[in-house]
Amino acid sequence: MSGIDYKAITLDGLWRNNQALVALLGLCPLLAVTNTLINGLGLGIATTLVLLLSNVSVSIIRNWVRTEIRLPVFVLIIASFVTAVELTMNAYFHGLYTVLGIFIPLIVTNCAIIGRAEAFASRNPVMASAVDALAMGIGFTAALVVLGALREFIGQGTLFDGAHLMFGESALNWTMHFGDNYEGILLAILPPGAFLGLGFLIAIKNVIDQRLPKKPAVKVTEATATES
């Protein structure tokens, strides 16, 4: 199919309509797990995987499902994939699974996923939906990782703490310690630190956007998801 602007879709996902920083979707898991970089990365990858699976499936069935039942069908699809991903993580990334715990099943309630299903995948062909899912997922993951790194660095003076949960025993020495007797700023680890950190990230993004040379009429490819 011609006429699909993959570049615009990618840019939207990564930056212009970043699900965490612009659409402000999926904040519950975002704020809860980002106390370390690795936790953020783990949840980000799991979310991206679910997003990809759900976007592709929704796009495949988009012409068969009557509009009045599309939302329950989407929820069914998403919930099934999340459970499958949860079981797979429990089986093959057990350490990380025990850390992320409850937030894996909660991916079901991440509005970013049903938001993309409804706003994009249900109206666009499979390829475009897959690209959209990857871009949105990576954008979301990037926000989780940056916020996680920020909070981990300020809160306990380390980076990559717990990398072995994800990358195996060989990653045990990946943890970087900054300052030997750094006590850490507790606030950064506690939930308020997550809100503050996210606020700063959004502010930084807005500053960068303002500094960028204004392009004539930024193209809006689709409406921003309305769920919150």
């Binding site: 009045e68 039942i69 069908v73 089986a91």
Partner: protein, 212 residues
């Protein structure tokens, strides 16, 4: 039924059928994932448990498969919940018991512990499996934050003496943390209670029928 009515309801029926089809598809996917990961998950859980027990009880002092020799007990001294006790033996002789009590005396929520005690009523190790204590303050009970929990190694009800089984602020033997007294106090109390229970009941526990 008049024709008109059937016509009116047809879309609803079709919708219901589509929805049911997706429900079946979804459940099949979940069922399939469960079947294909079930073995691995069980094995992971056993492996985790085995490592936890090896952390607190020396491998040289048992030759049985400790995680398979388990009895469940319920006693007020060990909290409100049923406690699993893993039994270690060496050449069929009991060498120690590994308790998994839960204490609700922490600062926030339950603290899940593993406490191993040998036949001389000495603690060989204590670990925290799960807790919701304040990060940066109460979480020093984890080995990845501090070595505090290892100060129980080798202790018993006679060393330090029974009345010294408390944190320093309460006139006892064990350190508290800066800014957090409630958490270590809860752990000390739980270990002490388990020691007392162990002293009185270990023979009984060793002769109980194991859980299947």
């Amino acid at each position: 039924m008049p024709k008109q009515m059937i016509k009116n309801y047809a879309p609803a029926f079709i919708s219901a059928i589509i929805l049911a089809a997706f429900a079946i598809l979804g459940s099949s996917l979940v069922g399939f994932s469960y079947e294909s990961t079930h073995e691995q998950i069980l094995q992971n859980q056993r492996e985790t448990l085995r490592r936890q027990i090896n952390d607190v009880f020396p491998e040289a002092q048992h030759d049985n498969i400790v995680i398979d020799d388990v009895v469940s007990i319920k006693d007020d001294e060990l909290g409100d919940d049923e406690v699993k006790v893993y039994r270690a033996t060496l050449k069929q002789t009991p060498t120690g018991l590994i308790y998994s009590p839960v204490t609700a005396d922490g600062y926030s929520g339950d603290i899940l512990l593993t406490i191993a005690i040998n036949e001389n009523n000495q603690v060989t190790g204590v670990r925290v499996l799960q807790h919701k204590e304040t990060p940066g303050l109460g979480d020093k009970i984890e080995t990845r934050r501090s070595d505090w929990i290892k100060s129980f190694d080798g202790t018993s009800l006679t060393s330090p003496r029974s009345e010294k089984w408390a944190v320093k602020r309460d006139g006892g033997y064990f350190d508290q943390f800066t800014g957090a007294t409630i958490t270590p106090r809860a752990v000390v109390k739980a270990v002490k209670n388990t020691l007392q229970y162990h002293q009185l009941n270990k023979e009984k526990l060793h002769t109980m029928e194991p859980d299947s």
